[in-house]
Structure formats: C-alpha cells, structure tokens
C-alpha cells in the first residue's frame, strides 16, 4: 500500500463509544497508519430512541416535550422549530409578544450551547480551564430558563401557537444583566485561547473543509460559515420576527478548526446583540394565539427549518387530518454535519481527530434520535 512505512500494515482501531472525547456514544472506526488517520467510519445508533416514530403515536401537543430530548443542549431551538412547523400546518402565527420572548430564549440557548461546545472542545484539546468558566456563565442562562419555564435543560418552553408561561417579574432585567456580564467573559475566553500558541498550533489548518465540500455534504451552521458562505436561516428565511433585529452573520474564509472556533465566538457576541434588541422591545399583548384545544391540522405537509446552534434544523410534518402526525421527519444538523468527519480527518493525526470531532459540535441525542 502506498504511503505506509516499510512493512507496517494498516491498524483498525475503535474509538468510542465510551471514549470521553467523542461527546457521547459515537463510535468511530479509525484506520491508522502509525499516528496518521487513513480513514474513519462512524457507527451511530447507540442512543437511538425512535423519536420520529414516537411522533407518529403522539398528538401534536404531546410530542413537544420529546423534541427537547434530541438536541438536549439546545432544547429551546428544537422546540421552536417544532412549534413553527405545526403552526405552519395550522396556518396560525404566534403573537408578537410570544415571538419576541421566543427569540430571547432561543438566543440565550444558542449562547448556552456554544458555551458547552467551547468548554468541551477546549477540554478535548487540553485546555481545561475554559470548561469551568463556560459552565459558570452557562449557569446564568440555565437559571433564567428555570425561572421562566421550570426546567433547566429539557425545557418544553414553547407551545404550539405561542407560550404557556408569562415572563416572570424581572425577566427583562435579568436578561440584560446577563448580557452586560457575558460580553467581558467572551473576551476572557478569547484571552485564554485565541492568542495561545498551543491552541493556535492545534487548530490552525486542522480539519479543513472548503465551501464546495460543505455544500456537497449538506453541512450547515458555523461549519459552513467558517468556510466563507454567509448562509444563516435567520437572515435567509427569517422566522419568528428575526428580520426585525439588526445583526451580522460572522464568516471566516479558511474553513479549518480555528475558523470554526472564531465563528462561534463571534456568534455568541451577535446573539447578545439580538437579545439586547429583542428584550428591549418585547411588545405587550397576549402570549397565545387562537389555537383550538385539540390540534387537528388540515391534510397537508409543512417543512420549517430554523437556525439551531449546530446548523439548519428542519422539521417536516405530514398531516393526514387527524390529531397525530402521519409522518414526522427531523433534519438534524449534527447528523448531517457528522458525515464530513471522514473528509476532514483523512490524513490528520489521531490527536487532531479529537479536535475535529469536537469542532463539528455533535450531540449524539440528535445524531441518533
């Protein structure tokens, strides 16, 4: 075989499903030539729960808590996508107040998700300190969720047609306080990592995925934006009133792990910008649109995609006119993005493979569903 050293043969090694840096139960079969990765193959399904099938056996209202359990790090984004899809089927729109609160919570959840990504990604690479700092700030957002809807992780915050809970007293103030507190903290993480030479050596030029490859694999989210394509569903196909807010879509050109890190850091700052605008202008009014008690959408189909922290999260619902969906399909961003692992990892070192898995930002609950 070309490229092997003397008489050495290819070594096939299992990485995971219990490996701590595979972020859950991902099993990667790695073909190694010494330290060099010749190819990878992902084995998924260890966390399969059949969420799409569960959806066919539950009413529309009942299924809402289950979507939180797919991408449990960004449960609110999942809930938003599902609610928007059913609302599209029903042809109703959430009230302006509900939409503004939804935006605030979704963006807070994006920050929480990116913080968990940053902490674990840095931990994989060897920087342990940022994890503790990230968890410290993530706690603030989780406390806001807990006060708002009563759960920290799998929130079930949104209902079809609007919201179940009115904001608590001091919600706006608390969110603004978090914004003020959070921006210097992002600088703090950057102080720890961005300039650090070990961090740069480990990330720059590792796991390059260019724009054409991204599009070929269907990769979305920060990975696509790090490759130079400014595709963000919030800008391209605005939903839930995102067109009202002024924000930028951060892009970078090289498409390597360092650029993806930079894009996510910039996204957190943009999220703060959106939250500030949204929370300053939450309109008064009802939080629930006029939705029948028993949700029975007309025969038809709807596809709605939202910009989840990991990429494009799509919900396709086919209704046969009963109280339960006939078919429910989820387009999970992590699952699609994971496909590109082999392309990125080929020719890199085993240590880089850990960095590459981390940079995709996968949540196995969503990959396996």
């Amino acid at each position: 075989m070309a490229g092997t050293f003397l008489d050495s043969t290819e070594l096939v090694l299992n990485m995971g499903p219990q490996h701590p840096s595979t972020h859950g139960v991902l099993r990667v079969i790695v073909k190694l030539d010494g330290e060099r990765v010749n190819g990878t193959e992902c084995v998924i399904g260890y966390l399969h729960r059949g969420v799409e099938k569960i959806g066919e056996n539950r009413t529309y209202t009942m299924f809402a808590p289950y979507v939180d359990r797919m991408d449990y790090v960004a449960a609110i984004s999942n809930g938003l996508g599902y609610c928007l899809a059913v609302e599209k089927l029903l042809n109703v729109e959430a009230t302006p107040r509900a939409q503004a609160i939804r935006v605030v919570l979704t963006e807070l959840n994006r920050i929480a998700s990116h913080l968990l990504w940053l902490g674990t990604h840095a931990l994989d690479i060897g920087a342990i300190t940022p994890l503790f700092y990230c968890m410290r700030e993530r706690e603030y957002t989780l406390n806001i969720f807990e006060k708002y809807c009563g759960a920290r992780l799998t929130t079930h915050a949104f209902r079809i047609g609007g919201l179940q809970y009115e904001t608590y007293d001091g919600f706006e103030k608390e969110v603004e306080e978090f914004c003020d507190l959070f921006l210097p903290k992002v600088d703090e993480y950057e102080e720890l990592l961005t300039g650090n030479r070990i961090w740069r050596e480990r990330l720059i030029g590792v796991g390059i995925l260019n724009e054409a490859d991204c599009k070929a694999y269907g990769v979305t989210g920060p990975m696509l934006r790090a490759a130079g394509c400014a595709w963000d569903i919030r800008k391209a196909l605005p939903y839930s009133g995102y067109e009202k807010y002024d924000f930028e879509v951060p892009i970078r050109q090289n498409g390597d792990t360092y650029d993806r890190y930079m894009v996510r850091m910039a996204e957190m700052r943009q999220s703060v910008r959106i939250i500030r605008q949204a929370v300053a202008a939450i309109p008064e009014g009802p939080i629930m649109a006029k939705v029948p008690k028993i949700i029975k959408p007309p025969v038809g189909e709807a596809y709605v995609s939202v910009e989840a922290p990991k990429g494009e999260l799509g919900y396709y619902i086919l209704s046969d006119g009963t109280t339960q969906p006939y078919r429910l399909r989820v387009r999970p961003p992590s699952f699609v993005n994971l496909q590109s692992l082999d392309k990125m990892a080929k020719g890199s070192l085993v240590a880089d493979l850990v960095a590459i898995i981390g940079t995709i930002d996968i949540v196995l609950g969503e990959v396996d569903r």
Binding site: R58, T61, M62, F63, A64, P65, Y66, R69, T129, Y133, R136, E139, N143, E146, K147, Y148, C149, G150, A151, T154, H156, Q164, Y165, Y168, E188, E191, L192, L193, G195, N196, R197
Partner: protein, 151 residues
Amino acid sequence: MTKLLRTIFLVDLFQGLWVTFRTQHPKNIVTEQYPEHRPKIAERYRGAPRLNINPENGQTLCISCDLCAVACPENLIIVGWVRNPETKRKDLVTFTYDTSRCMFCGLCEDACPVDALELTQDFELASYSREGAIFDRQILEEGIKPTKYRF
C-alpha cells in the same frame, strides 16, 4: 521582532495565567455546596408531583376528571374513582403516578382544571427500587420525604 519577543517572554502564556489568577479571588467562587446549602429552586420548577388537598377539611381537590391522564404523553397517570351514589359525583380512590417514566414536561399540570395536580419544587427523587419511583395517592398528597443527612 515583536513576535519574537512575545515568543521569548511567553506573553500568551502569562496572559492566560493572569486570567486564571484573577479568578482565584474567594468572592469569585461560584460552586454550590449542595447538601449543606440547599440551592434556591425557582418557583415554577417542575419537580416531584403533588396532589393538592384542601387545607380546611383535608379533602382532595381532585375531581377525577382524568384530563391529566389523557394529556400525559407517557400514559403514566392512573386515576381510580367510583361514582358516589348520593352526590352523583366521582370520588377519587387511587391515584398512581409513575415518576420513573415521567419527563416532567408539565402537560398534566397544565391540563388540570382545578389545580389539584402540581409539579413542585422537590427535586430529590432517588429511590432504592423501581417501585419506590411509583407514587401512590398517599405519597402524592403528603409529598416526598427525602433522607436528611447531617454533616
């Protein structure tokens, strides 16, 4: 030249260490000392279920309408009732709530028309057996009693 100096004097390293040093101050400690200090639980927290009773006469508030059982995505609530021949009303006999399958989504709470079923701020739900996670009417009305440890 500046780059070389920065490399020699390990500027990036000390920059990072300075951030870590700043956080050393005792007032920056954020770790919760859980069993000694109880965390503040939000008012709306969805924890252990409780079946409310009327504090005046000790009667249950539940009207056995079965709406919570219908609303539950996991079908884990079983309401047992008998028709009272005198008042022509349903009398609650048993109420079983299987917390081992519960995902605390709060749909039962939302469905309850008389605010009898409620998810409370109690969060210590561990038990030694699977059966311990199945709450009967008595536990639901009295609330869970987690073991209190002394330190």
